[in-house]
Protein backbone atom coordinates (compact mmCIF):
# COMPACT_ATOMS: atom_id res chain seq x y z
CA UNK A 1 0.00 0.00 0.00
CA UNK A 2 1.53 3.27 -1.10
CA UNK A 3 1.22 6.39 1.04
CA UNK A 4 -0.42 8.59 -1.59
CA UNK A 5 -2.98 7.54 -4.17
CA UNK A 6 -6.07 8.71 -6.01
CA UNK A 7 -8.96 6.30 -6.41
CA UNK A 8 -11.44 6.75 -9.26
CA UNK A 9 -11.43 10.50 -8.94
CA UNK A 10 -13.51 12.76 -11.13
CA UNK A 11 -11.97 16.23 -11.26
CA UNK A 12 -13.77 19.32 -12.45
CA UNK A 13 -13.69 23.11 -12.22
CA UNK A 14 -17.32 24.15 -11.85
CA UNK A 15 -19.01 22.21 -14.63
CA UNK A 16 -15.89 21.69 -16.74
CA UNK A 17 -14.80 18.09 -16.21
CA UNK A 18 -11.04 17.60 -16.55
CA UNK A 19 -10.72 13.93 -15.69
CA UNK A 20 -13.13 11.10 -14.98
CA UNK A 21 -12.59 7.92 -13.01
CA UNK A 22 -8.87 8.51 -12.79
CA UNK A 23 -6.79 6.26 -10.54
CA UNK A 24 -3.14 6.90 -9.79
CA UNK A 25 -0.70 5.37 -7.31
CA UNK A 26 2.41 7.26 -6.29
CA UNK A 27 5.05 4.62 -5.49
CA UNK A 28 6.77 5.28 -2.17
CA UNK A 29 10.30 6.65 -2.37
CA UNK A 30 9.93 7.34 -6.07
CA UNK A 31 10.61 10.46 -8.09
CA UNK A 32 7.36 10.44 -10.01
CA UNK A 33 6.91 12.79 -12.92
CA UNK A 34 3.58 13.49 -14.58
CA UNK A 35 3.78 14.46 -18.26
CA UNK A 36 1.29 15.14 -20.98
CA UNK A 37 0.24 17.81 -23.49
CA UNK A 38 -1.26 21.13 -22.35
CA UNK A 39 -4.70 20.82 -20.77
CA UNK A 40 -4.35 17.07 -20.23
CA UNK A 41 -5.12 17.48 -16.55
CA UNK A 42 -1.64 17.00 -15.13
CA UNK A 43 -1.68 20.09 -12.93
CA UNK A 44 -5.26 19.34 -11.98
CA UNK A 45 -4.22 15.86 -10.86
CA UNK A 46 -1.44 17.34 -8.77
CA UNK A 47 -3.87 19.78 -7.20
CA UNK A 48 -6.15 16.91 -6.29
CA UNK A 49 -3.26 14.91 -4.80
CA UNK A 50 -2.31 17.90 -2.67
CA UNK A 51 -5.96 18.50 -1.59
CA UNK A 52 -6.15 21.91 -3.29
CA UNK A 53 -8.97 20.54 -5.40
CA UNK A 54 -11.67 18.36 -3.95
CA UNK A 55 -12.67 15.53 -6.31
CA UNK A 56 -16.34 15.52 -7.34
CA UNK A 57 -16.26 11.74 -7.05
CA UNK A 58 -13.73 9.26 -5.76
CA UNK A 59 -11.14 9.99 -3.13
CA UNK A 60 -7.50 10.82 -2.55
CA UNK A 61 -5.86 8.73 0.17
CA UNK A 62 -2.88 9.71 2.28
CA UNK A 63 -1.62 6.97 4.61
CA UNK A 64 -4.91 5.17 4.17
CA UNK A 65 -7.08 8.14 5.16
CA UNK A 66 -9.20 10.36 2.96
CA UNK A 67 -7.04 13.46 2.67
CA UNK A 68 -9.88 15.98 3.09
CA UNK A 69 -10.89 14.45 6.41
CA UNK A 70 -7.45 14.87 7.99
CA UNK A 71 -6.46 17.91 10.09
CA UNK A 72 -4.91 20.53 7.82
CA UNK A 73 -1.69 20.91 9.78
CA UNK A 74 -1.21 17.15 10.03
CA UNK A 75 -1.40 16.86 6.24
CA UNK A 76 0.98 19.79 5.95
CA UNK A 77 3.54 17.90 8.05
CA UNK A 78 3.31 14.91 5.71
CA UNK A 79 2.84 16.39 2.29
CA UNK A 80 4.34 19.59 0.90
CA UNK A 81 3.46 21.41 -2.29
CA UNK A 82 5.30 23.92 -4.40
CA UNK A 83 2.49 25.56 -6.37
CA UNK A 84 2.90 27.39 -9.67
CA UNK A 85 1.62 30.66 -8.32
CA UNK A 86 2.92 32.06 -5.08
CA UNK A 87 3.25 35.60 -3.84
CA UNK A 88 6.25 36.89 -1.94
CA UNK A 89 4.89 39.45 0.56
CA UNK A 90 6.32 42.94 0.13
CA UNK A 91 9.62 43.53 1.88
CA UNK A 92 10.16 39.98 3.11
CA UNK A 93 13.67 38.58 3.42
CA UNK A 94 14.74 35.19 2.17
CA UNK A 95 15.34 33.88 5.68
CA UNK A 96 11.92 35.02 6.82
CA UNK A 97 10.18 33.48 3.83
CA UNK A 98 11.90 30.13 4.26
CA UNK A 99 11.06 30.30 7.95
CA UNK A 100 7.38 30.44 7.08
CA UNK A 101 7.67 26.86 5.89
CA UNK A 102 7.82 25.89 9.57
CA UNK A 103 4.23 26.99 10.09
CA UNK A 104 2.70 23.51 10.39
CA UNK A 105 5.20 22.66 13.12
CA UNK A 106 4.44 25.74 15.18
CA UNK A 107 1.78 26.79 17.62
CA UNK A 108 0.84 29.71 19.84
CA UNK A 109 3.29 28.64 22.55
CA UNK A 110 5.86 27.19 20.23
CA UNK A 111 6.59 29.95 17.78
CA UNK A 112 10.25 29.58 16.95
CA UNK A 113 12.13 26.64 18.44
CA UNK A 114 15.80 25.83 18.04
CA UNK A 115 14.70 22.99 15.78
CA UNK A 116 12.93 25.50 13.51
CA UNK A 117 16.11 27.56 13.30
CA UNK A 118 18.22 24.53 12.46
CA UNK A 119 15.86 23.21 9.76
CA UNK A 120 15.64 26.62 8.09
CA UNK A 121 19.43 26.95 7.98
CA UNK A 122 19.73 23.44 6.59
CA UNK A 123 17.06 24.04 3.93
CA UNK A 124 18.75 27.20 2.78
CA UNK A 125 22.14 25.52 2.67
CA UNK A 126 20.71 22.62 0.70
CA UNK A 127 19.21 24.88 -1.97
CA UNK A 128 22.24 27.18 -2.07
CA UNK A 129 20.44 30.29 -0.84
CA UNK A 130 22.06 30.49 2.61
CA UNK A 131 24.18 33.48 1.62
CA UNK A 132 21.03 35.28 0.44
CA UNK A 133 19.29 34.95 3.82
CA UNK A 134 19.25 38.67 4.55
CA UNK A 135 18.34 39.76 1.03
CA UNK A 136 14.84 40.82 0.01
CA UNK A 137 12.99 38.30 -2.11
CA UNK A 138 11.86 41.02 -4.59
CA UNK A 139 15.51 41.67 -5.48
CA UNK A 140 16.34 38.12 -6.54
CA UNK A 141 16.52 36.66 -10.02
CA UNK A 142 13.92 34.17 -11.16
CA UNK A 143 16.21 31.20 -10.59
CA UNK A 144 17.18 32.32 -7.10
CA UNK A 145 13.57 32.98 -6.22
CA UNK A 146 12.49 29.53 -7.30
CA UNK A 147 15.21 28.01 -5.12
CA UNK A 148 13.97 30.09 -2.18
CA UNK A 149 10.47 28.73 -2.64
CA UNK A 150 11.85 25.22 -2.82
CA UNK A 151 13.77 25.91 0.37
CA UNK A 152 10.52 26.95 1.99
CA UNK A 153 8.87 23.72 0.92
CA UNK A 154 11.91 21.79 2.27
CA UNK A 155 11.68 23.56 5.62
CA UNK A 156 8.25 22.03 5.89
CA UNK A 157 10.13 18.72 6.28
CA UNK A 158 7.58 16.49 4.64
CA UNK A 159 8.32 12.96 3.48
CA UNK A 160 6.20 13.69 0.39
CA UNK A 161 6.81 16.72 -1.80
CA UNK A 162 4.72 17.77 -4.79
CA UNK A 163 6.04 20.29 -7.33
CA UNK A 164 3.91 21.93 -9.98
CA UNK A 165 6.12 22.79 -12.97
CA UNK A 166 9.11 23.83 -10.85
CA UNK A 167 11.21 24.69 -13.90
CA UNK A 168 8.82 27.00 -15.73
CA UNK A 169 10.26 30.45 -16.55
CA UNK A 170 13.79 29.35 -15.63
CA UNK A 171 16.64 29.35 -18.07
CA UNK A 172 18.27 26.10 -18.97
CA UNK A 173 21.03 25.92 -16.37
CA UNK A 174 18.62 26.82 -13.58
CA UNK A 175 16.21 24.19 -14.83
CA UNK A 176 18.92 21.59 -14.50
CA UNK A 177 19.95 22.98 -11.08
CA UNK A 178 16.42 22.60 -9.78
CA UNK A 179 16.03 19.11 -11.19
CA UNK A 180 19.42 18.00 -9.83
CA UNK A 181 18.33 19.32 -6.46
CA UNK A 182 15.12 17.30 -6.66
CA UNK A 183 17.06 14.20 -7.61
CA UNK A 184 19.38 14.70 -4.60
CA UNK A 185 16.42 15.09 -2.28
CA UNK A 186 15.01 11.91 -3.60
CA UNK A 187 18.21 9.87 -3.56
CA UNK A 188 19.83 11.07 -0.35
CA UNK A 189 16.79 11.32 1.84
CA UNK A 190 14.40 8.86 0.34
CA UNK A 191 11.69 11.49 0.01
CA UNK A 192 8.86 10.78 -2.36
CA UNK A 193 8.71 13.50 -5.02
CA UNK A 194 5.91 14.12 -7.48
CA UNK A 195 6.48 16.74 -10.15
CA UNK A 196 4.62 18.00 -13.16
CA UNK A 197 7.10 18.77 -15.94
CA UNK A 198 6.68 20.18 -19.40
CA UNK A 199 9.87 18.84 -20.88
CA UNK A 200 9.60 15.17 -21.76
CA UNK A 201 13.37 14.74 -21.91
CA UNK A 202 13.82 16.15 -18.43
CA UNK A 203 11.09 13.83 -17.24
CA UNK A 204 12.70 10.80 -18.85
CA UNK A 205 16.09 11.66 -17.43
CA UNK A 206 15.14 12.35 -13.82
CA UNK A 207 12.01 10.34 -13.11
CA UNK A 208 12.07 6.91 -11.56
CA UNK A 209 8.39 6.59 -12.32
CA UNK A 210 6.63 8.29 -15.19
CA UNK A 211 2.90 8.87 -15.59
CA UNK A 212 1.75 9.93 -19.08
CA UNK A 213 -1.64 11.61 -19.23
CA UNK A 214 -3.82 12.60 -22.13
CA UNK A 215 -7.38 13.90 -21.99
CA UNK A 216 -7.63 13.11 -18.32
CA UNK A 217 -6.66 9.45 -18.51
CA UNK A 218 -3.43 7.60 -17.83
CA UNK A 219 -2.00 6.37 -21.13
CA UNK A 220 1.04 4.67 -19.65
CA UNK A 221 2.98 4.52 -16.42
CA UNK A 222 6.20 2.91 -15.31
CA UNK A 223 9.95 3.43 -15.46
CA UNK A 224 10.87 5.80 -18.32
CA UNK A 225 13.08 3.15 -19.92
CA UNK A 226 10.16 0.77 -20.14
CA UNK A 227 7.46 3.07 -21.41
CA UNK A 228 8.98 5.91 -23.44
CA UNK A 229 8.73 4.83 -27.06
CA UNK A 230 8.08 6.68 -30.30
CA UNK A 231 4.63 5.11 -30.32
CA UNK A 232 3.79 6.45 -26.84
CA UNK A 233 5.04 9.93 -27.68
CA UNK A 234 2.91 9.98 -30.81
CA UNK A 235 -0.09 8.72 -28.90
CA UNK A 236 0.24 11.16 -26.02
CA UNK A 237 1.61 14.28 -27.71
CA UNK A 238 0.71 13.66 -31.35
CA UNK A 239 4.37 14.15 -32.23
CA UNK A 240 6.39 11.97 -34.56
CA UNK A 241 9.86 11.32 -33.21
CA UNK A 242 12.65 8.91 -32.64
CA UNK A 243 13.66 7.72 -29.22
CA UNK A 244 17.39 7.19 -28.71
CA UNK A 245 19.57 6.59 -25.69
CA UNK A 246 20.66 9.72 -23.82
CA UNK A 247 24.45 9.73 -24.28
CA UNK A 248 24.89 11.06 -20.71
CA UNK A 249 22.58 8.81 -18.74
CA UNK A 250 21.35 6.07 -21.01
CA UNK A 251 17.76 7.11 -20.37
CA UNK A 252 15.38 7.57 -23.29
CA UNK A 253 15.88 10.77 -25.29
CA UNK A 254 13.10 12.01 -27.54
CA UNK A 255 14.19 13.58 -30.81
CA UNK A 256 11.25 15.13 -32.66
CA UNK A 257 10.97 14.29 -36.34
CA UNK A 258 12.22 17.03 -38.62
CA UNK A 259 10.14 18.59 -41.34
CA UNK A 260 10.59 16.42 -44.38
CA UNK A 261 12.62 18.97 -46.33
CA UNK A 262 15.29 19.15 -43.64
CA UNK A 263 15.47 15.53 -42.58
CA UNK A 264 18.65 13.66 -43.33
CA UNK A 265 17.99 10.42 -45.23
CA UNK A 266 14.38 10.75 -44.28
CA UNK A 267 13.06 7.63 -46.00
CA UNK A 268 14.86 5.02 -43.92
CA UNK A 269 14.85 7.04 -40.68
CA UNK A 270 11.11 7.66 -40.51
CA UNK A 271 10.62 4.11 -41.55
CA UNK A 272 12.80 3.00 -38.66
CA UNK A 273 11.02 5.25 -36.22
CA UNK A 274 7.65 3.92 -37.27
CA UNK A 275 8.87 0.35 -36.99
CA UNK A 276 10.18 0.76 -33.45
Amino acid sequence: MNRLSAENVTLAYDQRVIAEQLSVEIPDNSFTVIVGPNACGKSTLLRALSRMLKPNEGRVLLDGQVIQSMPAKKVARTLGLLPQSSIAPDGITVGDLVGRGRYPHQGLLRQWSAEDERVVQESMARTGVAELAERYVDELSGGQRQRVWIAMALAQQTPLLLLDEPTTYLDIQHQIDVLDLCADLHEEHGRTLVAVLHDLNHAARYATHLIALRGGSVIAQGAPKDIVTAGLVEEVFGLRCQVIDDPETGTPLVVPAARTARARGRAEKTGAARAS
Binding site: D14, M52, K74, D90, R110, W112, E117
Partner: protein
Amino acid sequence: MKTNRAVRTPGGLSFRLDVRAFTVVVLLLAVALAASVVLIGTGDFPMSAADVLRTLVGEGDAGQELIVNELRLPRVLVGLLVGASLGLGGALFQSVSRNPLGSPDVLGLTQGATAGALTVIVLFSGTANQVALGALVGGLVTGFAIYVLAWKRGVHGYRLVLVGIGVAAIVTAVNGYLLTKSDIVDAARAVVWMTGSLSGRDWDQVWPLLALCAVLVPLVLAHSGALRMMEMGDDVSYALGVRVERVRLLLMLSAVLLTASATAAAGPVSFVALTAPQLARRLTRAPGPNLVAAMCMGAALLVGADWVSQRAFGADQLPVGVVTGVLGGVYLLWLLVTERRAGRI
Protein backbone atom coordinates in the same frame (compact mmCIF):
# COMPACT_ATOMS: atom_id res chain seq x y z
CA MET B 1 18.43 44.49 9.44
CA LYS B 2 17.76 41.28 11.28
CA THR B 3 15.58 42.34 14.16
CA ASN B 4 13.92 39.05 15.01
CA ARG B 5 14.79 37.61 18.39
CA ALA B 6 13.71 34.20 19.52
CA VAL B 7 12.90 33.77 23.19
CA ARG B 8 12.94 30.18 24.42
CA THR B 9 12.08 28.71 27.78
CA PRO B 10 13.47 25.46 29.13
CA GLY B 11 9.98 23.91 29.03
CA GLY B 12 10.05 23.83 25.23
CA LEU B 13 8.05 27.02 24.78
CA SER B 14 9.37 29.51 22.28
CA PHE B 15 8.28 32.96 21.19
CA ARG B 16 9.35 35.23 18.44
CA LEU B 17 9.88 38.90 18.90
CA ASP B 18 10.51 41.47 16.23
CA VAL B 19 12.39 44.09 18.22
CA ARG B 20 11.63 46.97 15.93
CA ALA B 21 7.92 46.12 15.67
CA PHE B 22 7.73 45.73 19.43
CA THR B 23 9.36 49.12 19.95
CA VAL B 24 6.95 50.72 17.50
CA VAL B 25 3.97 49.21 19.32
CA VAL B 26 5.21 50.45 22.68
CA LEU B 27 5.84 53.93 21.30
CA LEU B 28 2.45 54.10 19.61
CA LEU B 29 0.74 53.02 22.79
CA ALA B 30 2.62 55.71 24.66
CA VAL B 31 1.60 58.30 22.07
CA ALA B 32 -2.04 57.22 22.20
CA LEU B 33 -2.15 57.36 25.99
CA ALA B 34 -0.30 60.67 26.16
CA ALA B 35 -2.64 62.16 23.56
CA SER B 36 -5.57 60.85 25.59
CA VAL B 37 -4.36 62.58 28.74
CA VAL B 38 -3.81 65.84 26.87
CA LEU B 39 -7.21 65.50 25.21
CA ILE B 40 -8.93 64.98 28.56
CA GLY B 41 -7.26 68.17 29.73
CA THR B 42 -8.45 70.11 26.66
CA GLY B 43 -11.72 72.03 26.56
CA ASP B 44 -13.66 74.90 28.07
CA PHE B 45 -12.30 73.91 31.46
CA PRO B 46 -8.61 73.21 30.77
CA MET B 47 -6.68 70.92 33.10
CA SER B 48 -2.98 70.20 33.31
CA ALA B 49 -1.78 66.69 32.54
CA ALA B 50 -0.84 66.24 36.18
CA ASP B 51 -4.37 67.17 37.29
CA VAL B 52 -5.84 64.75 34.78
CA LEU B 53 -3.66 61.89 36.01
CA ARG B 54 -4.42 62.74 39.61
CA THR B 55 -8.14 62.73 38.89
CA LEU B 56 -7.93 59.48 36.98
CA VAL B 57 -6.46 57.70 40.01
CA GLY B 58 -9.19 59.20 42.18
CA GLU B 59 -7.33 62.08 43.81
CA GLY B 60 -9.04 65.02 42.10
CA ASP B 61 -11.69 67.38 43.50
CA ALA B 62 -15.41 66.88 42.85
CA GLY B 63 -15.53 69.24 39.86
CA GLN B 64 -12.58 67.58 38.20
CA GLU B 65 -14.03 64.14 38.92
CA LEU B 66 -17.27 65.10 37.18
CA ILE B 67 -15.59 66.56 34.13
CA VAL B 68 -13.07 63.78 33.72
CA ASN B 69 -15.04 60.70 34.64
CA GLU B 70 -18.44 61.62 33.31
CA LEU B 71 -17.66 63.81 30.31
CA ARG B 72 -14.21 63.54 28.87
CA LEU B 73 -12.94 60.10 29.81
CA PRO B 74 -15.74 58.16 28.08
CA ARG B 75 -15.30 60.27 24.98
CA VAL B 76 -11.58 59.60 24.86
CA LEU B 77 -12.14 55.91 25.53
CA VAL B 78 -14.60 55.76 22.63
CA GLY B 79 -11.93 57.45 20.52
CA LEU B 80 -9.28 54.92 21.52
CA LEU B 81 -11.58 51.93 20.99
CA VAL B 82 -12.96 53.19 17.69
CA GLY B 83 -9.47 53.97 16.42
CA ALA B 84 -8.18 50.56 17.48
CA SER B 85 -11.16 48.76 15.93
CA LEU B 86 -10.84 50.65 12.67
CA GLY B 87 -7.08 50.09 12.56
CA LEU B 88 -7.47 46.38 13.17
CA GLY B 89 -10.45 46.03 10.83
CA GLY B 90 -8.58 47.90 8.09
CA ALA B 91 -5.46 45.78 8.53
CA LEU B 92 -7.56 42.63 8.25
CA PHE B 93 -9.31 43.79 5.11
CA GLN B 94 -6.10 44.94 3.47
CA SER B 95 -4.41 41.67 4.26
CA VAL B 96 -7.31 39.51 3.12
CA SER B 97 -7.77 41.46 -0.12
CA ARG B 98 -3.97 41.67 -0.53
CA ASN B 99 -4.46 45.25 -1.49
CA PRO B 100 -3.30 48.38 0.32
CA LEU B 101 -6.49 50.15 -0.70
CA GLY B 102 -8.81 47.35 0.36
CA SER B 103 -10.18 49.25 3.32
CA PRO B 104 -13.76 49.38 4.57
CA ASP B 105 -14.05 52.92 3.13
CA VAL B 106 -13.39 51.62 -0.35
CA LEU B 107 -15.28 48.36 0.01
CA GLY B 108 -18.55 50.08 0.87
CA LEU B 109 -18.84 48.88 4.47
CA THR B 110 -18.83 52.35 5.94
CA GLN B 111 -21.27 53.46 3.26
CA GLY B 112 -23.51 50.57 4.30
CA ALA B 113 -23.36 51.59 7.93
CA THR B 114 -24.10 55.14 6.82
CA ALA B 115 -27.16 53.93 4.91
CA GLY B 116 -28.42 52.23 8.07
CA ALA B 117 -27.89 55.35 10.14
CA LEU B 118 -29.43 57.66 7.52
CA THR B 119 -32.49 55.45 7.32
CA VAL B 120 -33.01 55.88 11.05
CA ILE B 121 -32.32 59.63 10.96
CA VAL B 122 -34.31 60.51 7.87
CA LEU B 123 -37.21 58.06 7.94
CA PHE B 124 -37.73 57.65 11.69
CA SER B 125 -35.97 60.68 13.22
CA GLY B 126 -34.59 58.18 15.74
CA THR B 127 -32.55 58.76 18.87
CA ALA B 128 -28.77 58.56 18.93
CA ASN B 129 -28.87 54.96 20.16
CA GLN B 130 -31.30 53.95 17.44
CA VAL B 131 -29.03 55.59 14.88
CA ALA B 132 -26.11 53.56 16.22
CA LEU B 133 -28.14 50.37 15.98
CA GLY B 134 -29.16 51.26 12.45
CA ALA B 135 -25.51 51.80 11.51
CA LEU B 136 -24.52 48.46 13.00
CA VAL B 137 -27.24 46.62 11.10
CA GLY B 138 -26.44 48.50 7.89
CA GLY B 139 -22.74 47.64 8.16
CA LEU B 140 -23.35 43.96 8.87
CA VAL B 141 -25.84 43.58 6.05
CA THR B 142 -23.50 45.28 3.59
CA GLY B 143 -20.54 43.18 4.72
CA PHE B 144 -22.58 40.04 4.24
CA ALA B 145 -23.74 41.18 0.80
CA ILE B 146 -20.19 41.94 -0.35
CA TYR B 147 -18.93 38.57 0.84
CA VAL B 148 -21.73 36.67 -0.86
CA LEU B 149 -21.41 38.63 -4.10
CA ALA B 150 -17.62 38.21 -4.19
CA TRP B 151 -17.89 34.50 -3.45
CA LYS B 152 -17.12 32.27 -6.40
CA ARG B 153 -15.25 29.15 -5.38
CA GLY B 154 -13.63 31.25 -2.70
CA VAL B 155 -13.16 34.95 -2.23
CA HIS B 156 -10.40 36.44 -4.31
CA GLY B 157 -8.70 39.69 -3.35
CA TYR B 158 -9.32 41.83 -6.42
CA ARG B 159 -12.81 40.51 -6.88
CA LEU B 160 -13.55 41.48 -3.31
CA VAL B 161 -12.29 45.00 -3.91
CA LEU B 162 -14.11 45.46 -7.19
CA VAL B 163 -17.39 44.02 -5.94
CA GLY B 164 -17.00 46.28 -2.92
CA ILE B 165 -16.59 49.28 -5.23
CA GLY B 166 -19.81 48.31 -7.01
CA VAL B 167 -21.70 47.87 -3.77
CA ALA B 168 -20.29 51.15 -2.48
CA ALA B 169 -21.63 52.94 -5.55
CA ILE B 170 -25.12 51.50 -5.11
CA VAL B 171 -25.22 52.30 -1.41
CA THR B 172 -23.84 55.80 -2.02
CA ALA B 173 -26.72 56.39 -4.42
CA VAL B 174 -29.17 55.22 -1.77
CA ASN B 175 -27.56 57.56 0.75
CA GLY B 176 -27.80 60.44 -1.70
CA TYR B 177 -31.47 59.65 -2.19
CA LEU B 178 -32.10 59.60 1.57
CA LEU B 179 -30.34 62.95 1.89
CA THR B 180 -32.51 64.55 -0.79
CA LYS B 181 -35.62 63.15 0.91
CA SER B 182 -34.76 64.72 4.22
CA ASP B 183 -35.62 68.16 5.51
CA ILE B 184 -32.68 70.46 6.12
CA VAL B 185 -32.51 69.83 9.88
CA ASP B 186 -32.27 66.07 9.42
CA ALA B 187 -29.87 66.61 6.52
CA ALA B 188 -27.50 68.67 8.65
CA ARG B 189 -27.66 66.07 11.42
CA ALA B 190 -27.02 63.34 8.86
CA VAL B 191 -24.02 65.11 7.37
CA VAL B 192 -22.46 65.60 10.80
CA TRP B 193 -23.03 61.95 11.58
CA MET B 194 -21.59 60.96 8.17
CA THR B 195 -18.36 62.76 8.92
CA GLY B 196 -17.72 60.92 12.14
CA SER B 197 -17.62 62.67 15.45
CA LEU B 198 -16.74 61.94 19.04
CA SER B 199 -18.71 64.75 20.56
CA GLY B 200 -21.24 63.74 23.21
CA ARG B 201 -20.08 60.13 23.40
CA ASP B 202 -20.48 58.63 26.89
CA TRP B 203 -20.23 55.37 28.79
CA ASP B 204 -23.17 53.89 26.83
CA GLN B 205 -20.88 53.71 23.80
CA VAL B 206 -17.85 52.52 25.73
CA TRP B 207 -19.17 49.29 27.22
CA PRO B 208 -20.47 47.53 24.08
CA LEU B 209 -17.32 48.46 22.15
CA LEU B 210 -15.09 47.29 24.96
CA ALA B 211 -16.94 43.98 25.22
CA LEU B 212 -16.71 43.39 21.49
CA CYS B 213 -12.99 44.19 21.39
CA ALA B 214 -12.37 41.93 24.39
CA VAL B 215 -13.78 39.01 22.40
CA LEU B 216 -12.62 39.80 18.88
CA VAL B 217 -9.10 41.09 19.41
CA PRO B 218 -7.76 37.87 21.02
CA LEU B 219 -9.65 35.79 18.46
CA VAL B 220 -8.12 37.72 15.57
CA LEU B 221 -4.62 37.75 17.03
CA ALA B 222 -4.76 33.98 17.51
CA HIS B 223 -5.20 33.71 13.75
CA SER B 224 -2.53 36.21 12.78
CA GLY B 225 -0.07 33.40 12.02
CA ALA B 226 -2.46 31.91 9.49
CA LEU B 227 -3.02 35.37 8.02
CA ARG B 228 0.72 35.78 7.55
CA MET B 229 0.80 32.55 5.59
CA MET B 230 -2.16 33.65 3.48
CA GLU B 231 -0.15 36.59 2.17
CA MET B 232 1.78 34.11 0.07
CA GLY B 233 -1.25 33.07 -1.91
CA ASP B 234 -3.98 30.55 -1.31
CA ASP B 235 -2.04 27.59 -2.69
CA VAL B 236 1.03 28.07 -0.53
CA SER B 237 -0.92 28.70 2.64
CA TYR B 238 -3.15 25.73 1.96
CA ALA B 239 -0.06 23.58 1.46
CA LEU B 240 1.24 24.82 4.80
CA GLY B 241 -1.87 23.60 6.54
CA VAL B 242 -4.02 26.75 6.73
CA ARG B 243 -7.76 26.24 6.24
CA VAL B 244 -7.82 29.22 3.93
CA GLU B 245 -11.55 29.77 3.39
CA ARG B 246 -12.45 29.15 7.01
CA VAL B 247 -9.80 31.54 8.35
CA ARG B 248 -10.75 34.12 5.77
CA LEU B 249 -14.44 33.93 6.64
CA LEU B 250 -13.70 34.20 10.35
CA LEU B 251 -11.36 37.15 9.92
CA MET B 252 -13.65 38.99 7.52
CA LEU B 253 -16.55 38.51 9.90
CA SER B 254 -14.44 39.91 12.73
CA ALA B 255 -13.35 42.83 10.56
CA VAL B 256 -16.94 43.61 9.57
CA LEU B 257 -18.06 43.48 13.20
CA LEU B 258 -15.20 45.71 14.33
CA THR B 259 -15.76 48.26 11.58
CA ALA B 260 -19.54 48.30 11.85
CA SER B 261 -19.54 48.71 15.62
CA ALA B 262 -16.86 51.40 15.48
CA THR B 263 -18.92 53.20 12.84
CA ALA B 264 -22.03 52.80 14.96
CA ALA B 265 -20.27 54.42 17.89
CA ALA B 266 -18.59 57.36 16.18
CA GLY B 267 -19.92 57.55 12.64
CA PRO B 268 -17.86 56.66 9.56
CA VAL B 269 -14.57 58.27 10.59
CA SER B 270 -12.88 58.30 7.23
CA PHE B 271 -9.46 57.00 6.32
CA VAL B 272 -8.35 55.64 9.71
CA ALA B 273 -8.95 52.08 8.51
CA LEU B 274 -7.12 52.84 5.29
CA THR B 275 -4.12 54.70 6.63
CA ALA B 276 -3.41 53.21 10.07
CA PRO B 277 -2.29 49.79 8.75
CA GLN B 278 -0.16 51.39 6.04
CA LEU B 279 1.52 53.81 8.44
CA ALA B 280 2.09 51.04 10.98
CA ARG B 281 3.64 48.87 8.34
CA ARG B 282 6.02 51.55 7.23
CA LEU B 283 7.09 52.18 10.79
CA THR B 284 7.69 48.55 11.74
CA ARG B 285 9.21 47.74 8.34
CA ALA B 286 8.00 44.20 8.89
CA PRO B 287 6.16 42.13 6.32
CA GLY B 288 2.91 40.62 7.43
CA PRO B 289 -0.36 42.13 8.58
CA ASN B 290 1.15 44.02 11.57
CA LEU B 291 -2.16 43.71 13.37
CA VAL B 292 -1.14 44.98 16.81
CA ALA B 293 0.79 47.92 15.41
CA ALA B 294 -2.14 48.86 13.14
CA MET B 295 -4.47 48.75 16.13
CA CYS B 296 -2.27 51.04 18.21
CA MET B 297 -1.74 53.34 15.25
CA GLY B 298 -5.50 53.63 14.71
CA ALA B 299 -6.04 54.58 18.34
CA ALA B 300 -3.21 57.11 18.31
CA LEU B 301 -4.35 58.59 14.99
CA LEU B 302 -7.95 59.08 16.04
CA VAL B 303 -7.24 60.58 19.44
CA GLY B 304 -4.50 62.73 17.91
CA ALA B 305 -6.83 63.94 15.15
CA ASP B 306 -9.51 64.75 17.72
CA TRP B 307 -7.01 66.82 19.65
CA VAL B 308 -5.90 68.63 16.47
CA SER B 309 -9.49 69.42 15.52
CA GLN B 310 -10.24 70.80 18.99
CA ARG B 311 -7.08 72.87 19.08
CA ALA B 312 -7.35 74.18 15.54
CA PHE B 313 -11.07 74.87 15.30
CA GLY B 314 -12.25 75.04 18.90
CA ALA B 315 -14.23 72.48 20.85
CA ASP B 316 -16.71 70.52 18.71
CA GLN B 317 -16.63 72.93 15.79
CA LEU B 318 -15.41 70.45 13.24
CA PRO B 319 -15.94 66.70 13.71
CA VAL B 320 -12.86 64.53 14.01
CA GLY B 321 -13.71 62.80 10.72
CA VAL B 322 -12.81 65.92 8.75
CA VAL B 323 -9.30 65.96 10.19
CA THR B 324 -8.75 62.23 9.68
CA GLY B 325 -10.14 62.74 6.16
CA VAL B 326 -7.63 65.46 5.36
CA LEU B 327 -4.73 63.62 7.00
CA GLY B 328 -5.76 60.39 5.31
CA GLY B 329 -6.30 61.99 1.93
CA VAL B 330 -2.88 63.59 1.84
CA TYR B 331 -1.27 60.43 3.10
CA LEU B 332 -3.11 58.36 0.54
CA LEU B 333 -1.83 60.42 -2.33
CA TRP B 334 1.69 60.12 -0.99
CA LEU B 335 1.18 56.37 -0.68
CA LEU B 336 0.06 56.09 -4.29
CA VAL B 337 3.02 58.07 -5.52
CA THR B 338 5.55 55.98 -3.60
CA GLU B 339 3.84 52.72 -4.55
CA ARG B 340 4.02 53.86 -8.12
CA ARG B 341 7.71 54.59 -7.83
CA ALA B 342 8.29 51.22 -6.27
CA GLY B 343 6.25 49.72 -9.10
CA ARG B 344 3.81 48.10 -6.75
CA ILE B 345 0.04 47.89 -6.10
